[in-house]
Amino acid sequence: MLPTDRKYTKSHEWIKIEADGTATIGITDYAQGELGDITFVELPEVGERKPAGEVCAEVESVKAASDIYAPVSGLVAAVNEDLDGSPELVNQSPFEQGWLLRLSEVDASAADQLLDAAAYEATLREAE
């Protein structure tokens, strides 16, 4: 079910190391389901440096506003501008079109320390 080409965090972010060494970041299907209909996504400026564990974006839904944390440190290389007019992309396609931002200058080995799909799924079962 969960894409296995990426890593996950306990706080429901995913991170995918791309071929060019950048890292794409988004939230999981579980996270979008818990948030409900997303109404607004606040993204950082390109060029901002984000230390691991710091807030790198904010997702607002009809229920709540939630901080999104950078799974690893890096420099914001791109943000998903489509979310500006269509925040519902995060609900419809959290793992593909609904990505949030891309970091460059990331340490890929730091991402290795994160949860793989099976381990993340286990944390979800625990939470139930």
């Binding site: 818990e34 209909d37 109404t39 607004f40 607002e60 009809v62 709540a64 925040p87």
Partner: protein, 484 residues
């Protein structure tokens, strides 16, 4: 029903004043003259009366039914408080009077009301001094956090962080942020429903300016470790902020000042029975311990040796002005009258009855819904519709909508955020057992309907002019202007 502009007919009038015999533009420079007619609606007096009467009949307020909106303390506000606030000696007083030469002598009664209320709130909460000026609870929080910031500046402390439990009202982190701080959440212990002391100890440090907490917290659970929290905070010269939103649970039983709280606010519009939300302006008085009194906003009401009262502005360390005049005076007056009406014993009974009512409801509903924290609650408790959601696809929102059709205002839903499908119920002390029993019957019937006929709940409410507003579209495409 249509909006009032749709009822407008060109040329229709309620009142026809005589023609003005003053030249229209006398003395006004052309820059200040309006170029177009104002876009006002034109109605007769009768049409206007009918419009607003119809609107009022569609409103649901505490005067029409049970309103168990968790965290909001929607108690009944005795009508006599309105009478007191309307007494001409108070209602016709000009707010600038105390600032005029000799004018203070003509406002002694009003100044005494403010002075006495401050004293009584200080007595009830164990704080050394109060300001009544903040105009709402969140304004009180901001005032309190500005006082914390002023305290640290005065001591030369450089601190950047405020610790806040993850179940807190959203206004806590927002007030701390506006006062210039970064906020860090502290987890709730899933076993006790209280702040996790180990995590607090791990996160607190020299950079911590304050710990903000609500007690009882938003789960309706009293944090019995509050004294220890204060001791831990004070070891790092961090201040303890007490959000008094839930003070209705503990009057006459617990004084935050005695537990080491440094600064706190109260919501007069919750605990002290003054109007609420759209019903009237709020008031969020802030109380401080002795070491913070110098930082309170100006002006301050002072009693002089000859027993007269003045507004004093001479406090060099004060954070300054935070509100016009002296806050919402009429609200303070009503709260003062409420305290006089009930007295110390009466206020204690208020809290005891509020806690009893909440526990009664909790016990009678916990078989029909999940109760994530199953322990004696204070003035409110949090159920979860997780079972209904899992088994029948009926969510807390559907239960809330179903309650509307059954004649009740829904409880707070989806808060606190740490409880999935939360239904946060606060009955308050002013409801009778008969009303509580009717609510129990409705909630149990809703749980049964969720299983037997979930589709009917997805359609609810059917009894209101608007069933389910499109909340998503309203948030995504916000447009609050009516096309003129």
């Amino acid at each position: 029903m249509s909006i009032i502009f749709a009822k407008s007919v060109a040329g229709r009038r309620g009142v026809r004043p005589p023609n003005s015999d003053v030249p229209a533009a006398a003395g006004l420079p052309p820059d200040y003259l309006r170029q177009t007619e104002p876009a006002l609606c034109e109605l007769s007096e009768l049409d206007t009366v009918r419009h607003f009467t119809e609107l009022s009949r569609r409103n649901f307020g505490l005067d029409s039914g049970f309103y168990p909106l968790g965290s909001c303390t929607m108690k009944y506000n005795p009508k006599i408080l309105e009478k007191v606030a309307a007494l001409p000696g108070f209602a016709n007083l000009h707010p600038l009077l105390p600032q005029l030469r000799q004018g203070g002598m003509l406002a002694q009664g009003a100044l005494r009301v403010l002075h006495d209320l401050e004293q009584w709130l200080a007595e009830l909460t164990g704080m050394a001094g109060y300001t009544l000026q903040p105009l709402a609870g969140a304004h009180g929080e901001l005032t309190g956090m500005m006082i914390v910031a002023a305290y640290h500046r005065d001591r030369g402390n450089r601190k950047a962080e405020v610790l806040i439990p993850d179940e807190a009202h959203g206004t806590n982190p927002s007030s701390a942020a506006i006062a210039g701080y970064t906020t860090l959440p502290v987890a709730t212990d899933p076993k006790t429903g209280m702040l996790d002391l180990q995590e607090l100890k791990a996160k607190i440090g020299p950079n911590t300016a304050a710990v903000m907490l609500t007690n009882p917290n938003t789960l309706g659970i009293f944090n019995t470790h509050i004294r220890e929290v204060a001791e831990i905070a004070h070891r790092h010269d961090a201040q303890v902020y007490y959000d008094g939103a839930n003070f209705n649970a503990v009057m006459g039983r617990f004084r935050p000042g005695d537990a080491g709280v440094d600064v706190m606010h109260l919501n007069l519009h919750k605990t002290f029975a003054t109007p609420h939300g759209s019903g009237g302006p709020g008031a969020g008085p802030v109380g401080v311990a002795a070491h913070l009194v110098d930082f309170l906003p100006i002006s301050r009401v002072v009693k002089r040796q000859d027993n007269t009262f003045i507004l004093d502005y001479d406090y060099p360390k004060s954070i300054g002005y935070i509100a016009p005049f002296y806050g919402n005076f009429a609200v303070c007056l009503k709260a003062c009258a409420y305290i006089m009406l009930l007295g110390a014993d009466g206020l204690r009974e208020v809290s005891e009855q509020a806690v009893l009512n909440a526990n009664y409801l909790m016990q009678r509903l916990k078989d029909s819904y999940d109760l994530p924290f199953d322990r004696t609650c204070m003035h409110e408790f949090v159920l979860s519709a997780k079972r209904q959601e899992k088994q029948h696809g009926i969510r807390a929102l559907d239960i809330a909508k179903g309650l509307i059709d059954r004649g009740f205002h829904p409880p707070t839903v989806y808060f606190p955020l740490i409880v999935p499908e939360a239904l946060m119920i606060e009955p308050t002390e002013t409801e009778s057992k008969e009303t509580l029993d009717r609510f129990v019957a409705a909630m149990r019937e809703l749980a049964e309907t969720a299983a037997a006929d979930p589709e009917s709940l997805r359609q609810a409410p059917k009894s209101t002019p608007v069933g389910r507003p499109d909340e998503v579209r309203a948030a995504r495409e916000m447009d609050v202007c009516h096309p003129a």
